[in-house]
Subunit: 173 residues, 2 copies
């Protein structure tokens, strides 16, 4: 038994999403190479930049908690990526593949939204007991930093939905 | 290359969520046994009944498409379940474990919402070209049946959020 409290569970989930974000950054680059639709490639390019910022933000949270940034293997994101790769290997048609790539990217996005949502709720509940060094957070609270990323992920999710509905699914059908 | 069209990609995703729903039914039963909070156990009990209905609904969709209900291994749900079990094994405190169980259940729920959302969008785009036998659907369209499940999953997600915020996270902190 290594998780003894909500503070430790919070820290464990932080390590989980840190690992996941790094895997997603790799996966996004790969999907960017496989995608053919210019609007989809452009979306991934921008979101890859956001992802790098989100990783830095997590590192800031780790430091504020007096810990080194470190991931724990996240089986969920590995499963999502493996499933995506398996499906994409079976598709030859570029437009059908774009639709599958978008669906995969959205599944990863939703995973992040879920985890950041949980982290925000837990950070909010734990409040000051979380023991963060305020100076390392530049006047913000941990919950604010996580909420910033959560909002970005939700925006990206909406952009993917709009892209699917306005363009990618129609072209593939 | 075994997926040649959007109709085939749709069918592949249908098999994916069919496998996932069956895994989730098993996982829900296990989490119900591990949870201690009465409201959480009660929620899982009700959602397990919904899950069995949702599985039957998918079987109805398969039959309308002239196919036998069949799953394909869904690495994503296996990853989510494995990650959940690994984390729960590390927690002794019942209230902290309840918070972790709720977070895991919500991650699975969000996976389903994502996949059903994609299936609804694709079914909507494919329309009549999907070639469903209308008599097997009792006057509905495939998209209506999938939307019904999607709405149930979203309601369950909202119930889990309310339970976390009103009770489970507070008790665990």
């Amino acid at each position: 038994m290594t998780i003894q409290s909500m503070n430790e569970l919070f820290h464990h989930e932080l390590q989980d999403i840190y690992y996941a974000e790094n895997q997603i950054a790799k996966s996004l680059s790969e999907m960017m190479d496989q995608a053919t639709d210019a609007a989809l490639v452009d979306n991934f390019e921008h979101h890859l930049e956001d992802t790098h910022e989100q990783i830095k933000r997590l590192e800031q949270v780790f430091r504020a908690l007096g810990q080194s940034p470190k991931g724990v293997t996240c089986q969920a994101i590995l499963g999502l990526i493996e499933e995506s790769q398996e499906t994409l290997r079976e598709i030859e048609d570029e437009r059908v593949r774009d639709a599958a790539i978008l669906a995969s990217a959205q599944a990863m996005e939703r995973y992040e939204i879920t985890r950041y949502g949980t982290l925000v709720a837990w950070a909010d509940q734990l409040g000051r007991t979380i023991g963060a060094d305020q100076t390392a957070l530049g006047g913000l609270e941990i919950v604010d930093l996580l909420q910033l990323t959560l909002d970005e992920e939700k925006n990206q999710d909406s952009r993917l939905t709009a892209l699917a509905e306005s363009r990618i699914n129609r072209l593939a059908a």
